[in-house]
Symmetry: C2
Subunit: 605 residues, 2 copies
């Protein structure tokens, strides 16, 4: 396994915070970003000691700017600067310095001059027992491709001068990867990895604000890294990610996310981990309830045809069931400020032990086994936001924890199972959550989007397993909410699948359970832009159903009000092969939830 490394610039806080976080996450090495060192009160020797105490070597010092192609008059100051940095590196215990291609306006466009100057600098480095890794910035003034940087390294021909390859700089220019695999591996001195979403923007701004850890974006990190490893490169896989969110988030959490991305990347290249076990469905979802939401959920589930079939042997947890949908209502621990409403969910796995092993290999925090009888059958890990993810067999061994209530089954209202879980995420953990669910569960991205909700933009990503029996929709506001926008944490919700929404809605109406009122304006627009058959048109308007369609089919969705402070239930019917999640309706649905809350808080005007 290659060594893993992270640049201090990926993380937030003081240099000490960053080193501590990298060490705790299990990295082997760090790149020290110069600005982070300058801002530290620790002398270089102390930084070295601190890193060593954390099990970290300092594998790179970076960046050294505007070195090659300098006019002769300026090159003297480049040499002086390099000498100072080489002395610093001795104190720091770093062997390699990154020289990135010049951007200064006075840079001379002359490869021989650049090669000659880099050769001089490499000779200086060699005299200090150090070496130089030369990198083409995608926005370098004259040198902006790896091919060009390699040509200059080749011409300079000095053993202390090699290449630094950075996946972002290479892949952001859509360079072909074939040539990379043919490079001599011992001339690649350093490998920096960053992913990024595909954004149509100036490459410098793209690079400085929107980089992501591998497998969080849209670049071909797998192909790139495999190509570099094919050269025989033996240095570390080192992350260099400039990201506005990571820069201000808890570095301990970010460092774990970062290291997970490298573990997943290696797995994607070489199948190094326990393979993901096949998932066959959602065994249950567990909602945390409070004195307000608990009774309302019980009434709702009863009206939907769920039966309260079991009571936990030792905890205030109810098991409700209808069809393949099982819901636990947990009134045991009060919902903490800022915590999620869907506290846990269980996935049916062809091999729960294997699922849990893979999760552990991907740094998922294991949770203490909570249920006495089923210890062998129910393993759990924590998702980035603390949600408990259980793995269990299809045979519901975990039900042994519940004493049967003996309540008779209720007639079905059409509910067949859990369609999907909508997990609103904390602002700082969205990209981590996406990577976590994708890699730990072996799921694939299904649909990504962004929509304008009444109180700000919302980003969404749905992921699913191969046969779409497990679907998870993640969402996050584009900006962290302030005082004006309500409802932080955002409500989460559970979508129940029905094969007959009319029947399910009728059952709710018969039980006097209110559903969310959808504005007439929505239906007027729906009528203007679609040609639904008259019965369907009348049904959706009369019932408060929202409608969506795609190339494969139709989607009918009905919502409850927000129950308590942060959970609601959707009942949805997929007609034909509709593949989406109804995201297009979310802004109107959110406004309706807002109106319902205001109406509940004050008498209607």
């Amino acid at each position: 396994m290659p060594r893993t490394s992270i640049a201090t610039v990926c993380l937030s806080g003081t240099l000490e915070d960053r080193l501590d976080a990298a060490g705790a996450a299990g990295f082997d090495a760090v790149e020290i970003f110069e600005n982070d060192l300058l801002a530290s009160a620790l002398p270089p020797e102390r930084i070295r000691e601190r890193a060593a105490g954390l099990g970290l070597t300092i594998d790179l010092y970076q960046p050294f700017r505007d070195a090659e192609g300098a006019p002769a008059a300026r090159f003297a100051s480049v040499r002086r600067r390099m000498r100072a940095k080489l002395e610093l590196m001795e104190r720091l215990g770093a062997d390699t310095i990154l020289v990135c291609s010049s951007v200064a306006p006075d840079t001379v466009d002359d490869d021989d001059l650049a090669a000659g100057q880099l050769r001089q600098l490499a000779q200086m480095a060699a005299e200090h027992g150090k070496r130089i890794a030369y990198e083409a910035l995608a926005w370098g003034r004259h040198v902006s491709t790896w091919e060009h940087s390699w040509e200059i390294v080749r011409r300079a021909d000095h053993p202390a001068l090699g290449l630094c390859l950075d996946s972002f700089h290479v892949l952001s220019r859509s360079a072909a990867l074939e040539g990379i695999a043919r490079l001599p591996g011992d001339r690649i001195f350093f490998l920096q990895l960053a992913d990024a979403p595909r954004l149509g923007m100036d490459v410098l701004q793209w690079s400085r604000h929107h980089r992501l850890f591998p497998l969080q974006g849209g670049l071909d990190l797998v192909g790139f890294t495999a190509a570099v490893l094919a050269t025989g490169y033996t240095g570390p896989l080192s992350l260099e990610v400039f990201n506005d969110v990571f820069r201000q988030a808890d570095p301990h959490r970010t460092a774990v996310d970062a290291r997970r991305s490298l573990i997943a990347l290696e797995d994607a290249i070489g199948h190094t981990l326990t393979p993901a076990a096949e998932l066959t469905g959602v065994a249950f979802a567990e909602l945390g309830v409070d004195p307000e939401s608990g009774p309302r959920l019980e009434t709702l589930l009863g009206a939907l045809g769920f039966t309260h079939v079991g009571q936990h042997r030792s905890k205030p947890v109810q098991l409700w069931e209808q069809g393949d949908a099982r819901i636990l209502l947990n009134s045991g621990e009060p919902l903490a400020e800022g915590s999620a409403a869907i506290r846990a969910f269980a996935l049916e796995s062809a091999d729960p032990e294997r699922s849990a092993r893979r999760a552990g290999e991907l740094l998922a925090r294991p949770l203490p086994r909570r249920r006495r009888r089923s210890e062998a059958h129910l393993t759990a890990v924590a998702a980035p936001d603390g949600t408990e993810v259980f793995f269990c067999r299809r045979a519901p061994v975990w039900r042994e924890d519940f004493l049967p209530t003996g309540e008779p089954p209720t007639p079905s209202t059409g509910i067949t199972g859990i369609d999907h879980l909508s997990l609103a995420q904390p602002f700082d953990r969205y990209d981590e959550a996406a990577l976590f669910y994708r890699t730990v569960l072996g799921m694939a991205d299904d649909e990504a989007g962004e929509f304008a909700a009444p109180f700000g933009l919302i980003r969404t990503l749905a992921i699913r397993n191969a046969d779409r029996r497990v679907r998870i929709a993640l969402s996050v506001p584009v900006l962290r909410r302030g005082d004006w926008a309500p409802a932080v944490p955002h409500p989460q919700h559970l979508t129940l699948a029905t094969d007959d929404l009319a029947r399910t809605a009728a059952a709710l109406a018969a039980a006097g359970v209110p559903v969310l009122r959808i504005p007439e304006n929505y239906y007027d627009d729906l009528d203007a832009r679609t040609t639904l058959v008259p019965q369907l048109r009348a049904f959706v308007r009369a019932t408060g159903v929202m409608y969506d369609e795609d190339a494969h089919g139709q989607y009918l969705q009905l919502f409850t009000p927000v129950l308590g402070s942060r959970v609601f239930v959707e009942v949805a019917q997929r007609v034909g092969g509709y593949r989406g999640y109804g995201f297009a309706n979310d802004p109107v649905r959110m406004a309706a939830h807002r109106a319902q809350r205001l109406a509940g808080a004050a008498p209607a005007r």
Copy 2:
């Protein structure tokens, strides 16, 4: 004066919130954005009544998409959709609908087809007494320039069909403005205004996330609007701004900011406001102090050679003075959570009454006159974050409010005045603050930037008056801070000018007043990258001075620790004609402040 209008999409909240905010800010009209209407539980008639009750007409309903160039089979559904929207507009009391150029992949590239279809739709509109404003989206499939949209309107030749011009769509393509002024004004049915920073990115993303109100960005709104008005256009100036921050901020505040931008725009075109009076300097800065920061500031000011010359007649406010620097320490009202440390500052104006009149015309909230004797001489308005901005004459009449203490003057330590005020801004109010200070004070942008601070990116903008005697530096985090990053609200600071930093520093040292310790690593790097004369080099390192230089001169800066929770003082010497603010040193300075706080909070390790 043209009527002023704002699109509901500029604001946050429910449609009701948005209408209320637009009405309260004094707009004449609104554009109803379709999604905002769909999400509202109010029927169109009620929306119309509510708007009317707020003094608002509904001047536009928008957008109607993918109308022209539709294949024949689809055009029937376009007509059906248009009919429904025309009926809606009757209920809503809106006369004009915006049709934006088609983006659908099946759109036919045929100007005659497009013109014919728009003519049909215009005829339908005319039959309802409505009209259509056709707009070229910058990313339209076949029609993406105003010239092209005009050509189609001309060919369609129907009295109910005219142009909608949108400054963003025109200026983002850098179109020349000459042709616009030659358009027949009665064929321009609607004018939408949005500014934007110059960003190198995909125009669709740029438009959807980063638009700003006029004069907040880098587009030529003055030239564009003047050109449109020159045609004889008599419709409203209407704002259509998609901005991630505004979408989630208090709409009442945003609406005031929005209307201020139109008032300032009209002034920039036609000198409609009281002209800004010449500013000649900062008369005083007033710091809110608490039991911790108060004594420390008194000690500091004493050591810097300030004299406590006056005590307010009725309030716990001290006046300290040295040279032209005057500082008030106000221990009267406790500092509210989240409030700024620099509670007020006073600017010397050639005509304070005129300054205040202009501020009022620009919707600055007037403040009650606080000081009894000087009522005629000291007027104040509130800046967007609540900071009180006073205007006064150079003759310090306001000092009559202070009883002389009789304390003898202290020997000067070199302090000559207040160099600049650094006003960290609340996250939601940054662009508003920039526009406020620029337009109310008649100041110009000086230097804008972004830097990576230890706990996240920071954006900065300095503005100044003509002769640089009044300088204000604004800053804001790029993302709203969460739990990890410390220090919200960010400390603000006051920079005192000295003509001899060595003398000032010696005075502090003699008085035993600590200054902020700057890391040795910073000086090692400074030595590596500059060639300061040896005495200066030794001085800055020994004294804790930070250094910057530009093409005009040098800047030496010395900082106190953060005093109390949110204010510190900088003492700076400009050598030669240095024009900057030392922003490049801010990350190291911030880390040093962080280290100082941690050292104060816990014993050193």
